[in-house]
Subunit: 480 residues, 2 copies
């Protein structure tokens, strides 16, 4: 054990012995996330309050030990991995919905609350929390805030940062700060709230969040529109969003995704279509039929070869099943996959898909593109068996080419997953050297010793202040 025994002893005192572990069998459980890399931490703690988190940070500072905050461990870029060892803070005990203020449409919750649980809870009050990452059933609000999660409803409703009003957070140096407001407006001092949101747990540990809520829409309806060509579908999406019926989701599947989902599900998807759009519209009960009719007519006018409206909840479920079947179908096809969440301006989606087609032809690799067409957020997947070194190398080169294409099209290399470890090498390409330096100075302003979630976002290490306690036992830590 490389972490100092005194540090371990004091950690146990802070959170209580039953909420602490340095046993390998426990630590291994918190060494994973959705990237399939493994980095076993030196200790795992389960604090119950901001005060405990603060004491942990002060202790970590004294022992120069890295601290890694962890929500549901469902991150796609390694944000929760203990890449330099250290103490993993798991927020599962801080999972209380503290307040639902129905009069002011505001809620407060602790970071360990599961997102879908929170959504269901506010729904029972007739309220609506729109951000909806596909991990919602197991990711936490804390993780969603740290990554600035999005999801399909962003087309109409925006992303996590559009809903967070204020935070309670523990700084790497141990101070507990409150940021932001609990009102719709507030312009007092720097926007620490939105600086911490999306900072991937590198600037502060969120211990409570205040978010705004909306009234739950009275009605939701689902329809699909099949297009012969990707270009036509993309142009239709732009036109639809510029119309006065903005759907709350506009998901798309390319031909490869359609075939894949159909092969897996056999629900009669149009396997010859170049692209399939799945749209959700919400609104007042009195108007929903008119909205759907407008959208149906508009889709036809814009070149859809077929439009299907789900007449029942069951039919809607079936349409969504097709979209959701892509991921499991992909896993069935290949044991490993690369999944990148690039974003381009909506109108450039056809260019991006054309590039993917070209790469598919050139490499012979299985590639599919699907995702959130409404905001140009494409989930690009390459199927492979990572033990096939040649394929892996080709895939990595293809990803790099696609990132370059994305940037050239005016896009960004991550719409939802963040930078973490996996995208860190590509970050300077997008933001430039001067903005990189500025971000590092901001990191230092929060975390002078570089102890909070080190090794994330910044491709090279910052000047870190780790002591010997961060040294890892051989064989315990490493990319898996």
């Amino acid at each position: 054990m490389a972490i100092h025994p005194d540090c371990l002893e004091q950690l146990a005192c802070i959170v209580g012995r039953s909420h602490f572990s340095a046993r390998r069998e426990d630590r291994v459980c918190y060494g994973y996330d959705a990237t399939a890399a493994v980095h076993v931490p030196d200790a795992v703690v389960f604090p119950e309050s901001a005060q405990q988190v603060s004491r942990i940070m002060k202790l970590a500072t004294a022992f120069r030990t890295p601290v890694i905050p962890r929500g549901g461990g469902s991150g796609m870029t390694g944000g929760a991995l203990a890449v330099n060892g250290g103490i993993v803070i798991v927020f599962s005990r801080m999972n209380r919905i503290v307040e639902i203020d129905r009069e002011n449409l505001v809620a407060r919750m602790q970071p360990g609350v599961i997102t879908a649980h929170f959504q269901r809870h506010v729904k029972r009050h007739g309220l609506f929390y729109p951000p909806d990452p596909s991990s919602a059933a197991f990711s936490t609000m804390g993780g969603n805030l740290a990554e600035c999660a999005g999801g399909p409803k962003a087309v109409k409703y925006g992303v996590t940062r559009d809903y967070v009003l204020g935070l309670e957070a523990v700084l790497p140096t141990g101070e507990i700060v409150k940021t932001g407001v609990r009102t719709a407006k507030g312009v007092v001092g720097y926007d620490l709230t939105r600086l911490i949101v999306g900072s991937e747990g590198t600037l502060a540990l969120i211990t409570e969040a205040t978010v705004k809520l909306l009234a739950l829409p009275e009605s939701v309806m689902t329809l699909t529109a099949a297009f012969a060509r990707m270009e036509t579908a993309a142009r239709a999406v732009s036109e639809i969003i510029r119309s006065h019926v903005v759907p709350r989701t506009v998901e798309f599947m390319d031909n490869a995704s359609i075939r894949l989902a159909e092969g897996y599900l056999r629900v009669g998807l149009p396997v010859d279509a170049g692209a399939l759009l799945i749209m959700e519209v919400d609104g007042r009960r009195a108007e929903i039929a008119g909205l759907v009719r407008s959208l149906k007519n508009l889709s036809r006018k814009l070149g859809a070869v077929s439009v299907t409206v789900a007449e029942t909840d069951e039919q809607a479920q079936q349409l969504w099943q097709a979209r959701k079947a892509i991921s499991p179908a992909l896993f069935k096809l290949a044991p490993h996959k690369i999944n990148e969440d690039i974003v381009v301006p909506r109108s450039r989606v056809p260019d991006l898909v054309a590039k993917i087609d070209e790469l598919r032809r050139r490499t012979g690799l299985t590639m599919v593109a699907f995702g959130h067409a409404g905001d140009g957020n494409i989930h690009f997947n390459i199927m492979l068996d990572k033990s096939d070194k040649t394929a892996l190398e080709m895939a990595n080169r293809a990803v790099e080419t696609l990132f370059d294409t994305t940037l050239a099209l005016g896009g960004t290399i991550s719409g939802e997953h963040g930078v973490g470890v996996t995208k860190a090498p590509y970050l300077p390409k997008e933001v430039g050297d001067d903005a990189m330096s500025l971000m590092k100075r901001i990191k230092k302003a929060f975390d002078p010793l570089g102890l909070l979630n080190p090794g994330k976002i910044f491709p090279e290490s910052l000047e870190m202040g780790w002591g010997e306690s961060s040294k890892r036992c051989p064989g315990e830590t490493g990319a898996g």
Copy 2:
């Protein structure tokens, strides 16, 4: 002249002699804003590009001279005042709308574009930029971004930070950086965009902004609802916003404001009403009548004693005239006024108004409250003749009491105007010492010498690097 002659000479070289002035008659023109304080700068420059702004910052760094960015000079808290002398950068020549991308609903513009001009321009393309401060006719997009401007439409559409996607900005050290994206989603690195937005020109000089646009609503209708008591009106506002017809604006006038506007306009306002709500609803042409009907019925059900729907554009104008008459009526009543834009959770507006009533009775000062009820953003005004020292002192104490009440009600001392100079003494009360220290460290990460817009936000001076060139000529600078 305290500024170094070599510095002046080089400034003239950077922007060209005709876009530079150190003559007193020119400098005086840029020493004012809406606070009525006067601080005459040492020089005024009118750059035409980010490159010129960058060279000015490098020059200012070499001569340790403060630089103050200035938009329309309509700020309410002194953000554009040269409180320590220095160089005022006026962005009036950088006033180009660079791009309107109708397919992706994105626009790019330079900071000197007048907000209302930008709104009208996008409207001609069938598009909509919702943030709408009451200064829109003369304030600039750069100023709106720096202050994170709001306005009445924030109820439904949010504020400036909800529309900005990315920036080009010059750092105090002269680097030109690009932040953010031009897509709806993007989570790559720290959110520099929203950190700079609302930083009141203390972190960076915005030289170009990319904002998102919406489709222009097909229809807008206006209605008013009079309530006997403020409490009933406030409860109605909460209920209305929780309903499925969210108005885009919910403005309110207290009894004092109603009487004032009626005395000035004579349009038949209900002078016995405890509160008047003015609401705007927008939506699809096919549905607008239904929305207005719902809102009308709901208002009645929630206790409105009368509801008036504007049947023509002219009638709507007249209703808005009443709301807009308050400010000129106030100026007519008293040569000076204190105008504070406090915010409390919607449901606490009656408590705040009750406190104002109490203060009015206790001090005998004329006080009115009106503003954006939909987001609890109250413009609280005290009328006074500032030469009356006793009244001024009482007024300042009343403001402090009201700030305390605002914070105790879970509110914030500024929803739109920012901190600037005038609210700086109250900032630590709201954000706390630890967050204050963090904000100062962030300021240093951007501006190690403290040269960009010094004396704003932070009540005490930071450790500044000003050289002798910041010394002011006696009598030239001082609060007026």
